[in-house]
Amino acid sequence: MSSMTGGEMNNQRTSVWRITLLIVVSALFMLPLVLMLLASLKPAEQLTGDPYSLLPERVVWSNYQQALEAIPYLKYLANSIVLCVGSVVGTVVSCSLVAYGFARLRWRGRKAMFAVLIATMLLPWHVTMIPRFVLFSELGLYNQLAAIILPTFLGDAFYIFMLRQFFMSIPEELSEAARLDGLSEFGIYWRIIVPLSKPALVTVAMFQLVVSWNDFSSPLLYLSDQEKFPLAYGLEQFVSSYSDQTHLLMAASVMFTLPMVFLFFVAQKSFTRGITMTGSK
């Protein structure tokens, strides 16, 4: 110890300070989540009688069972899954095709069209909401999950942009060689670009999965039949009729959050990469 130079001592002191600060701040960030988890396990009386207590007096797992039945959680979960899978497939298929068109093919009007694509990103959804609703109703899509899934098959500017950037980084020589071998454009897209772009496609899929899971305003607008509600919307309905049952609300919220946390841990890399990509264009 005594052999340490002043600088090293200083360094060590800062590093202790830094770790302490990081621990304190991350504890603050995690606190709401921890409180949610703890509240979901508390007996109802404790939440009303002693609202500021931290730990459950006794652990009540049955809160979860009650929430499952009251919501009806599994039914809504099934709808959420259908929505998520449909939207992810739609997004990945359409956006990768369109991005290929923008990134790897030369055609007249491409630049202008790309500018239009970017412009649509800046348009607030409010402007198109009402006519869109009218149009979808006319098409008989009202109260159908398809009203929410189908638009994803028509591409999304943001993902198209992301994938285009990625596709452009793949060497052009690969395509040229394939063309000489007689592969069609679709063949090049399918056999060469898609396999090489798996990480980017996974990122897009993950993003869309989160978006669909969270989506509240489309079901609010398009769905009226309880049989078709996804969780995000079903949960809101639950809040208004069980607003005084904090233990059930928290149990339901935990169950609604967990799949996303799981997803994050499984696919942390593609998330982080995707997010940083959006910033560094």
Binding site: T48, G49, P72, L74, K75, Y76, L77, A78, N79, I81, V82, V85, F133, V134, S137, G140, Y142, N143, L221, Y222, S224, D225, Q226, E227, E236, Q237, F238, S240, S241, S243, D244, F262, V266
Partner: protein, 463 residues
């Protein structure tokens, strides 16, 4: 590797849930050979179960129609209904309690009862309903909504608290708002700076009740004019705001908000937070439950009473505010005939008063027709529930609804927002000018809606 396994497991579970979930149904299937009437309502929890039982009773009594009740809790029920109508997939019948009847009738989103039922039956229905119930559904000379439960508000008081504070027996009724003020003042308690008990605190949403009680009119039906700045209404509002001036805006707001976080949305009167509270008849059950609980614990129960809103019967005769649940039949309802049968069943028309009495007893609702409340069954119930009896009594006095005029929902909101602002903040507000401004804006909106040709579209009617 482990990651891959967990992903596969995750996907498999999802697939199983999705397949299972899309195959099960939440409500019972309609039996073969019966015509399905899709019925939306907003009751959930215990009330939802009562509704389910009523629906079951109806379905058992029927061979032709089958009502499928869909509970739609959550906010903005009207909005969902509107979306369903414009989306082209409306329910056949709904029940709701917001002042939208005139607006929607005007916009031709509803069938009038005259359009879906024989004229003679509609006439009988009009005779059947109490004036207050009828007033909630009549627009443009036609019956667009059938009330199935009145909501009447009156002043509940904690008799023990009031008598302790006044040091004399509680009066049977209040002669004026001055008397209410003095009761309120006598019962207000502080602990240091903080309010612990309030004698009475006007609810900002209830200018609609106090306005008429002061003799005011929100709308002049003769001249089709919005008259929120009627002198009597301004006086009523000024009187409500006097409570803020006495107690302080922040105290009022905090005290009021804290009511919301009483355990299980408890009736604040029961928590001894107030001595007097203006509320609806549904609170009778809460009071009775609390009294029973004290008895079980071997304590003598707190006594409660009900006063009508103090009003000057010689001046206008208006006694307060009424709203209620109404049945509406959306235009393009595919089963309007079945909907009408169910409406008749619920309101007790055509000798079904005993069924209707059962319904009212089950839900703790005020009957909409005198024969129902006079029925032996219901009178027996009232004998056991003296507080509730007072409300049934009040329902037969001149209770005024929110005006049935296009834009009423907005009118209702704007007035409540103004009162809320006036009561919860220290802002100095020129009440008369603000009320006049609301009237003026509503008038503009009405003029814009103005002369719309009443083209009746028969496209989706089921003959």
């Amino acid at each position: 590797m482990r990651q891959r396994i967990s992903v596969i497991l995750f996907l498999l579970t999802s697939a199983v849930i999705a397949v299972w979930g899309t195959s099960v149904s939440l409500t019972s299937e309609t039996p073969v050979g019966r015509e399905e009437v899709v019925f939306w309502h907003f009751w959930s929890g215990a009330d939802g179960k009562v509704v389910d039982q009523i629906v079951q009773r109806f379905n058992r009594s029927q061979e032709q129609y089958f009502v499928r009740a869909v509970s739609m809790p959550g906010n903005n029920f009207d909005m969902k209904l509107f979306l369903a109508i414009t989306g082209g997939d409306p329910p056949d019948l709904i029940n709701q309690d917001d002042p939208i009847v005139a607006d929607w009738a005007h916009r031709e989103a509803l069938y009038s009862m005259e359009e879906i039922a024989p004229a003679e039956e509609v006439d009988r229905m009009k005779q059947w309903l109490l004036p207050a119930a009828r007033s909630l559904g009549e627009y443009d000379g036609k019956l667009y909504a059938v009330c199935n439960g009145l909501d009447i508000r009156a002043l509940y008081f904690n008799q023990d608290l009031v008598e302790a504070a006044l040091q004399r027996p509680a009066p049977p009724f209040l002669s004026s708002t001055d008397e209410l003020d003095s009761v309120a003042q006598a019962c207000t308690k502080y602990q240091g700076q903080q309010l612990t008990q309030v004698g009475y605190l006007p609810d900002p949403r209830r200018l609609w009740a106090w306005g008429p009680a002061f003799g005011g009119d929100f709308y002049n039906e003769v001249d089709n004019e919005f008259t929120a700045d009627d002198d009597a209404i301004v006086r009523a509002l000024d009187w409500m705001v006097s409570y803020r001036r006495r107690l302080g805006a922040h105290n009022v707001a905090t005290f009021r908000q804290n009511d919301q976080s009483l355990p299980n949305k408890m009736f604040p009167l029961l928590a001894n937070r107030y001595a007097v509270v203006l509320d609806g008849q549904w609170r009778v059950r809460d009071i009775e439950a609390a009294q029973e609980e004290s008895l079980l614990k071997g304590q003598s129960p707190t006594r409660y009473g009900v006063w009508p809103l103090p009003h000057d019967p010689t001046a206008s005769g208006k006694a307060g505010w009424v709203n209620g649940n109404v049945f509406l039949v959306p235009r393009h309802s595919k089963q309007s005939k079945g909907a009408w049968e169910f409406i008749k069943f619920w309101t007790g028309l055509d000798g079904q008063q005993d069924e209707a009495a059962k319904t009212c007893i089950a839900g703790g609702w005020i009957p909409v027709a005198k024969p129902v409340s006079d029925s032996e069954l219901f009178q027996g119930y009232l004998d056991e529930h003296p507080l509730f009896e007072r409300f049934v009594e009040f329902s037969q006095t001149d209770q005024v609804p929110t005006p049935l005029v296009p834009g009423a929902a907005r009118y209702y909101r704007e007035i409540n927002n103004l009162v809320q602002r006036a009561m919860y903040s220290e802002e100095q507000i020129d009440l008369k000018a603000e009320l006049a401004l609301i009237s003026q804006q509503m008038q503009q909106q009405l003029d814009r809606l103005g002369d719309r040709s009443h083209v009746v579209d028969d496209g989706g009617r089921n003959e």
